[in-house]
């Protein structure tokens, strides 16, 4: 029978200021970026950066709860593979990610609607 390696996924809530040092730290522990995505939860945006370890099959996710105004530093200087993930979060959810190394300037998916998955802004008078 094959050996099964199935550790629990782990999730850590962090602040935007902790993103770069945490990314550097997890990279030095031998993790690679597995995925990054944004999710809309009520009026806030949840960012999830998941890192996978290819020997232990561990998946660790950093969670940042933010809004469209807060600046999020790009991790592309530390993890070049983050380029598409960050461009996607910026284009679809309007996440304010700064200094992406190769910023597609909201043209990754060539969609006409601006930030289609972003929190709905209240109309005047509401």
């Amino acid at each position: 029978m094959a050996e099964v390696i199935c550790p629990e996924n782990r999730l850590f809530e962090i602040t935007p200021e902790q993103l770069l040092p945490k990314t550097m730290e997890i990279k030095t522990r031998g993790f690679r970026l597995s995925q990054a995505c944004a999710a809309l939860v009520k009026d806030q945006i949840e960012l999830s950066y998941s890192f996978a370890h290819d020997e232990t099959y561990q998946l660790e996710t950093f969670r940042i709860v933010t809004d469209q105004e807060t600046e999020i530093p790009s991790i592309t200087e530390i993890v070049p593979a983050a380029v598409f993930y960050e461009n996607e979060m910026k284009e679809l959810f309007g996440v304010n990610i700064k200094m992406i190394n190769m910023d597609y300037d909201n043209k990754l998916y060539r969609i006409e609607v601006e930030s289609p998955m972003a929190p709905k802004k209240p109309k005047e008078g509401e």
Binding site: M1, A2, E3, V4, I5, C6, N9, R32, L33, S34, Q35, C37, A39, L40, V41, E46, S48, S50, A52, D54, E55, Y57, L59, T61, V79, P80, A81, V83, F84, Y85, L92, M102, Y104, K107, L108, Y109, R110, I111, P116, M117
Partner: protein, 364 residues
């Protein structure tokens, strides 16, 4: 060293190109015949399917997820169901786990045979392309026999599967995969030993283990560079009951990627045999799942092209708050750009093919 910009030019490559199976655009900065840099552009077939998950009933959404891409259909449906099953905290019946495993491996066989054909077409070996696709028809016949669909199986449901495989079907599967194995052995020699094939594949597009790790490469692309990772080792579905080791190579070139995929077809055949031999007698196919999902779950599967990540989040409504699917090609594009550096212009098409790009999945 000074760069002579007068020798540099930019060639737009794709989205329509004879060698590209799907639309991806590359701006190739070339110096004479050598690629210096490749800048990828996608977005030609973005359909906003993740956004649709926020507006469509989570049960109905499964049928949409299965149609993200024809080749990866079964495993997309399974990944979605596993993510929802994780939120509902339900345990799928054992027989359903084994059936999912069998269909997963059938998907992998037809995906890899499709790729082998495209690779042969890419380096101009038309008869080899026909042979690979001819063999592939046999596994598609088995998909049709067991699920009713040749590509879109649509047999997953949250909590299990919709269809069973009876004894006659298992006999037919075993007979067919035996034939596939024999016929693949015949063309394997051409793929791996033919002089002209080797001259097109060996030493082309080399990526080291360290580069793959840095660039987040997954699947056969990573395993061909010596990364011993295969998410089936996590033991999801029935893989924990089966005996296998990841197929790897250390060369990191196009030849290694071909070698890994070719041997993964044999591995899949072996896994199907093991799964059929251990298929549980209890014919319960699904457990009931009631209510609406409330919670979140990450699921990772080893698709034919590599690691796929499914993330579902819900807050008790019938719509999901988020359904995120990170497909293997999305993760492999940075590796592609790196392997293109230093390649000759004539090898670009071949290198694009060797990551087995699935742009429909990538853009969703």
């Amino acid at each position: 060293m000074a760069v002579d910009l007068s020798r540099r030019s930019v060639i737009p490559y794709g989205p329509q190109h004879p060698v590209l199976p799907e639309p991806i655009h590359l701006d190739l900065v070339i110096e004479d015949e050598k690629v210096v840099e490749a800048i990828p552009s996608i977005g030609f077939i973005h359909r906003g399917l993740e956004g649709l998950a926020m507006k469509k009933d989570f049960n109905d959404m499964q049928y949409v997820i299965e149609r993200i891409c024809g080749i990866c259909s079964f495993m997309h449906g399974m990944g979605y169901c596993e993510a929802l099953e994780g939120i509902f905290e339900v345990e799928v019946p054992d027989r359903a786990k084994f059936l999912r495993t069998i269909w997963c491996e059938m998907s992998r066989i037809h995906s890899h045979l499709l790729w082998l054909g495209l690779l042969a077409d890419g380096f101009g070996f038309e008869s080899l392309f026909y042979q690979a696709w001819r063999i592939r028809e046999k596994i598609l016949d088995m998909a049709e026999l067991t699920t009713g669909g040749r590509l879109i199986a649509s047999v997953n449901k949250i909590g299990g599967v919709l269809k069973d495989i009876d004894d006659d079907m298992t006999k037919a599967i075993l007979k067919n995969i035996g034939e596939i194995e024999e016929e693949l052995k015949q063309i394997e020699k051409t793929f791996l030993l033919d002089y002209t094939v080797q001259s097109r594949l060996k030493g082309v597009g080399v990526l080291t283990k360290e580069q793959i790790h840095e660039l987040g490469g997954v699947g056969p692309v990573a395993r061909a560079s010596g990364v011993n990772v295969d998410l089936r080792k996590r033991g999801y579905a029935a893989y924990k009951y089966l005996d296998f080791e990841p197929v790897t190579s250390n060369d990191g070139d196009c030849y290694a990627r071909c070698n890994v995929r070719l041997h993964e077809v044999y591995q899949s055949i072996d896994l199907i045999r093991q799964a059929i031999a251990k298929l549980p007698e209890d014919r319960t196919l699904a457990v009931p799942v009631k209510g609406n999902p409330d919670g979140e779950c990450f699921v990772r599967l080893e698709q034919s092209r590599g690691e796929a990540v499914y993330y579902a989040k819900a807050t008790g409504g019938k719509f999901l708050d988020r359904m995120r699917i990170r497909t293997p090609t999305f993760a492999n594009i940075p590796s592609l750009c790196e392997m293109l550096k230093g390649a000759t212009l004539s090898d670009v098409g071949l290198l694009v093919i060797t990551i087995d790009p699935c742009i429909s999945c990538t853009e969703r």
